[in-house]
Amino acid sequence: MHAFHIHYRNTQGTLMRILTAVSRRGLDVPYVQASADGHGQCASLLLDVNTKQIGQLCRDWYAIVDVMDVRVGVPTAEMLDSATGLPSAHPPVSASAGSKNANAAMA
């Protein structure tokens, strides 16, 4: 796991551009946080990526017009804790709606 910290100007769509660089590669994002950081914003992501993907992602992010800086580092304990704390059920399953009730609701 690697931690990425992307500093950017909080303009329209910049955070989404940062995230689509990840999603277009089919990567899961076990941890993401975006918050104010000095004059701009910082998005912190935890990703399970190889060396080649790290290079590609960093360059893709840096090519985004309003990204100011990209850093790669070791994940913090908070990031790892959040990542392991994710619910395992996917997709979410309703605990109460049995098929009979669901059919009744649809009728």
Partner: protein, 564 residues
């Protein structure tokens, strides 16, 4: 007080826009209402995809920013393929889309689409305008990013109420980017290491891509290559950057590149890349790409580095600056003698095409056409077999003389792009080469050609198949020609006539006599010199293939030259 639409158009004029392509509709109507007297010529295409490809053609032919306009919803979504195309091929493009009025955004209003969200991963920059006051700044910034660095597509989505609203207008504004850590240190420091790599190299080569042309540094590049005198080849977008007669030039490289170029790219021990992103059509199997090579990558966009393999020396910056800096350093350096390597790489036994390929009627036909073109002519190729034949046979030294959809490979590109090119170069011969599949994808633009009386010379290489897909089916899917048969094509000659465009059909047999007889030569000459739009349908053998071919997943050295 001016309406938002008038302000919008004045800001476009301030960005040197005098020609736009588009298709009106509900949300963008206020902009169309203000067009008259704006100083901007609007060309109505017959589909929004036609508009965006025409804008791309204009941009690719001139280096200016192309502008396409569409309404909200389906108008905007019809632009998407062109936006993706411009992203892949680094084309400066601004797409202006009308949006439902601001109070309705997010309500699933009639013809509402989230075009901003839809195009986020395809655009270099985009904005949904949030007030009439934002219009000047958004246009200035949008055009700045479309042109700056590696050019690319920009979307400006504007709600219709801001186009109708009024405000005091102080005039267009200029955009000044905020600074961020600079890459300029790389530009200054590369010289010594590069010279050292050259001095140790035994088999150096140069690969030329689109970036060489986009930088405008063609004369600097040619001068550098003359001095280096090493085997040199180009990507499909690099064609025309190097003088074809240069003794070290080996032609196009890649999946359908020449044997000489592909072998040199495979065998070299030092690869100088000038403005190419080394995509899979150029490299073949990335794990076996240039196995002995150290890579020096001249590139303006850091995001393009190390995509295939880590390069030994990245030279990040505008080629207009880095090439002269390299050349200056080179003049005082002592370089090895590469005569033996050059003799091998450029030797006659590595002829550019297999002789059997040269006897193909379609290749002879393209040779006959290209041989009659003047220096300022432009060839626009669609996507497929004809595109690769055209790229193989294109032999002009005109840097913007060969235009095609290379990265995205968008069928239907050529005809509307030719509209944009012909309007940009009214006195030039514009030759549009399509296949029978691609031509039908934007055939409606024949109406635009007719309306504007554009003297485009259109050629359909008609093999009654989706030829390139069929070729792959033949070679790699045991001749299972699934859904590629187009033998029920319409009569293109009659269709052209319905659009009041001259058209003629030519059988490939006329090319079996080579050189062609006097009658055929006269007919081709008349076709190219006509002041009217003309269509020529060339009946091509259904199962003619493009060779050489590097199969997907193979190394560049593993070219096929025939079926078996």
């Amino acid at each position: 007080m001016l309406r938002g639409a008038e302000i919008f158009l004045q800001c476009l004029r301030a960005e040197d826009v005098d020609l736009v392509f588009g298709y009106p509709g509900g949300a963008i109507m206020p902009l169309y209402d203000a067009l008259d007297g704006s100083g901007i010529r609007h060309v109505l295409t017959r589909h929004e995809q036609g508009a965006v490809f025409a804008a791309e053609g204009h941009a690719r032919a001139t280096g200016k920013v192309g502008v396409a306009i569409a309404t909200s919803g389906p108008g905007a979504t019809n632009l998407v393929t062109g936006i993706a195309d411009a992203k892949m091929d680094s084309v400066p493009l601004v797409c202006i889309t009308g949006q439902v009025r601001s109070s309705l955004i997010g309500s699933d209003a009639f013809q509402e689409t989230d075009v901003f969200g839809l195009t986020l991963s395809l655009t270099k920059w985009s904005r949904l305008v949030r007030s009439i006051e934002e219009i000047p700044a958004v246009i200035a910034e949008g055009f700045y990013w479309a042109r700056e660095g590696r050019p690319g597509p920009v979307v400006i989505d504007i709600p219709t109420d801001f186009l109708k609203a009024k405000m005091e207008f102080a005039g267009p504004v200029k955009f000044t980017p905020k600074p961020r850590p600079s890459d300029s240190a790389t530009e200054a420091a590369f010289g010594d290491k590069l010279i050292s790599l050259l001095q140790k190299a035994e088999r150096p080569v140069a690969l030329i891509g689109a970036g060489a042309k986009l930088s405008g540094a063609i004369s600097e590049l040619r001068s550098l290559l003359d001095e280096l005198n090493i085997p040199t080849f180009a990507t499909v977008h690099g064609l025309g950057a190097v003088e074809p007669e240069a003794p070290y030039y080996l032609g196009m490289v890649g999946m359908h590149g020449t044997r000489a170029a592909n072998m040199a790219l495979h065998e070299n021990d030092l690869l100088l890349v000038f403005g190419a992103r080394l995509d899979d059509r150029v490299t073949g199997d990335p794990s076996r790409f240039a196995p002995h090579s150290k890579i020096v990558h001249f590139e303006i966009d850091p995001a393009q580095l190390d995509r295939v393999r880590a390069c030994e020396l990245p030279v990040i910056g505008d080629l207009a600056k880095t090439i002269p800096a390299f050349h200056k350093k080179l003049r005082s350096a002592k370089l090895p003698n590469w005569n033996q390597w050059r003799t091998v790489a450029c030797g006659e036994d590595r002829a550019e095409l297999d002789p059997r390929g040269l006897s193909q009627p379609t290749i002879r036909f393209l040779d006959e056409l290209f041989g009659r073109l003047t220096q300022n002519s432009v060839v626009i190729a669609d996507v497929g077999q004809h595109q690769m034949w055209a790229a193989q046979r294109y032999c002009s030294a005109s840097p913007r003389g060969f235009i095609t959809s290379g990265g995205l490979g968008s069928m239907g590109f050529a005809l509307p792009a030719a509209v944009g090119v012909q309007l940009s170069k009214p006195d030039a011969t514009i030759l549009c080469v399509s296949g029978d599949g691609g031509f039908q994808m934007n055939i409606q633009e024949l109406a635009t050609v007719r309306r504007l009386n554009l003297p485009i010379k259109m050629v359909i290489v008609d093999n009654k198949y989706l030829g390139m897909v069929r070729q792959w089916q033949q070679l790699f899917y045991q001749r299972n020609y699934a859904e590629t048969d187009l033998s029920d094509n319409p009569d293109f000659v009659e269709i052209a006539k319905a659009y009041r465009i001259n058209a003629v059909r030519v059988q490939e047999d006329v090319m079996r006599e080579y050189p062609v007889n006097e009658n055929t030569a006269d007919a081709l000459e008349r076709f190219l010199r006509s002041p009217e739009p003309e269509l020529l349908v060339f009946d091509c053998a259904p199962e003619a293939n493009v060779y050489p071919m590097v199969p997907a997943g193979a190394a560049l050295s593993e070219m096929l030259f025939e079926e078996d």
